[in-house]
Symmetry: C2
Subunit: 352 residues, 2 copies
């Protein structure tokens, strides 16, 4: 089987009907739930005296996409730090904030920059590149935030044989194991890079889709999406519109870890302490409107990968997502029984 290396996952750019900017309300709800935890994390765990010692305070959002969720996240972090600073009655002046918005090279930074709030309280920069690699100089970051991004693998595990499916949900266990192995390698690189970049005492706030221990993948919302999208692709194979081998060699580079796996990976890396960890459950959308939201959400996230692999034929892409919408209707009862969880982790950089 042909090896498939996904070079980069980028959400749809621009501000059009299919853009991520206009179809990221699900991620927004993920963020809204993380927001109060981030606020608490900063109030309780940020050593503001040590970190704001006469220099600017440097924040990065890793996997920020093209907005607007990233701006809400950053704004709320800055607000919490200001509140913490105020509550401690420090004599030090409030630091200036430098915020680095990071995402893949193929992210639409032009849209990101043009959506930057005009009245922001920070200096902004964009940083193109994979967060599985080094992005910043040593000891230059005070707070890392990454929301709804770490579930994206750097690539599909190379030796996956996954006939007629595009994900490990409903796949043989060796497919699942290969994904698990890739996630583990990716997180190792992620933690190694951040361990160099984050100052001692610096915080890292991570939140991404997870699976609860024992939860079957057949009832994990995103797994259901990918099963239905794979099924829609197979329908197109039957209609002679898509090549079967193309489907066999396509896999979504998405992995939902369990909190236990995340904990083990942090411990193996050894440079961070877990200050807080919890899972959050998200309500599944109900009613007819849900189908359109889910369909557009999946298109904003997956269209780039699909075009890279299957070609840039608009008609094929439109038809695929029409079929996908029909599948969502047909299997709506399964969606309603599924669940969607996020793991929230607060890490602190240890003294070496």
């Amino acid at each position: 089987m042909k090896k498939v290396v996904i070079e980069s996952v980028a959400m749809n750019g621009g501000v059009g009907d299919h853009s991520y900017a206009n179809n990221s309300s699900l991620q927004r709800s993920g963020f809204e739930a993380a927001k109060s935890l981030i606020h608490e994390a900063i109030m309780e765990k940020l050593d503001i005296k040590h970190l704001c010692n006469g220099k600017s305070f440097r924040i990065t959002d890793l996997g920020c996409s093209a907005g607007p969720n990233t701006f809400i996240a950053v704004e709320s972090i800055v607000e919490a730090i200001e509140q913490k600073h105020h509550s401690e009655g420090l004599k030090l002046p409030l630091p200036e904030f430098h915020v680095y918005f990071n995402d893949q090279l193929s992210n639409d930074f032009n849209t990101l920059f043009n959506s930057l709030p005009l009245e922001r309280r920070y200096f902004a920069a964009g940083v193109p590149g994979s967060f599985h690699t080094r992005l910043f100089p040593e000891k230059s970051i005070d707070l890392v935030c990454s929301l709804s991004a770490l579930q994206w693998l750097s690539k599909v595990p190379e030796d996956v044989v996954n006939m007629g499916r595009i994900h490990y949900s409903n796949a043989p266990s060796e497919v699942m194991e290969a994904y698990k192995g890739q996630f583990s390698k990716d997180m190792e690189r992620f933690f190694d890079a951040r361990a160099k970049e984050v100052v001692h005492g610096g915080l890292m706030v991570l939140s991404f889709p997870c699976i609860r221990d024992g939860q079957p993948y057949s009832r994990f919302l995103v797994g259901v999406f990918f099963s239905l999208l794979g099924s829609a692709l197979m329908d197109m194979v039957k209609m002679g519109k898509v090549d079967q081998t193309k489907v066999d060699s396509f896999n979504m580079p998405f992995y939902a870890a369990s909190p236990k796996e995340v904990e083990a990976l942090v411990e193996r890396n050894g440079h961070f302490t877990i200050e807080r960890m919890e899972t959050q459950n998200f309500p599944i959308l109900q009613g007819e409107g849900a189908i359109q939201v889910y369909s557009k959400h999946n298109r904003a996230c997956a269209e780039g990968l699909i075009r890279q692999h299957f070609g840039h034929d608009d008609e094929i892409v439109d038809e695929l997502f029409d079929l996908f919408s029909n599948k969502l209707s047909e299997y709506f009862s399964i969606l309603e029984e599924s669940s969607m969880n996020f793991v929230f982790v607060l890490l602190k950089r240890k003294q070496d």
Copy 2:
């Protein structure tokens, strides 16, 4: 007369036939000439022990456009610092470099990021915004470089009445004075912002088109370009294709200062010492090929402003630059008699 505020000057984006990326060889020759001066400046004036004291070395290129000249400039700066570090036999390890590529919000950062050299020796970030405003936290930059950018005014001076022309060349002296006043205000804001951002002992390397004392504007190459472009626009007025009032209210926000003016502005600001200053003369292109190069160069730089003001009609823009090319042919002898100079200034941030 209607006031015209030019919101932002951005070179043409992308990598197409009319792009700045493919039509910036004139700026490249400007940079090539500055290159050896930059190298000397770093070797002679950079206090490497003070600036590389266990932290990363932060460089910004202000007005970088979409490449490729900016990468050559930055590469050569990094190389010079490495050489300086080596030549002093310092025990400190070579610092990591963090490079901030800055340009207007309307700059094509997607093209810039996708053109970043893969084998670079620095961490890269993009910073959108006008360099006439603050872009970075206090004392966060070690070396500022700005090549072929400071000639662009933040806006056309507001009360300019400049019938049938698009620039101060060949215009009444009050037009010229208004431009001079705007340049002076802009540079004041530029130096004030940089004075906050650059660390004590940090360097600032500036190079931009200038006029030699006593040189008539009628023989300043860029002034000749704008006279001919204005004349081409007036031809289109006569042909009924462009509205006269539109031409009257359009002015290129470009100013070529004299070295004496620059010196006075640095002194008035008071936060920098002039470590070196010289003017460099550029050979005027000869032969038929020159016309095409000049025409494309002007289009890559001016098309954005023209479209903002006159509308986005491709036919009008194409016809304008065809007429402009004809004018370049017709007045080629004037171009051959003209001259093009750049001022190179090396500044050092004083201790307050």
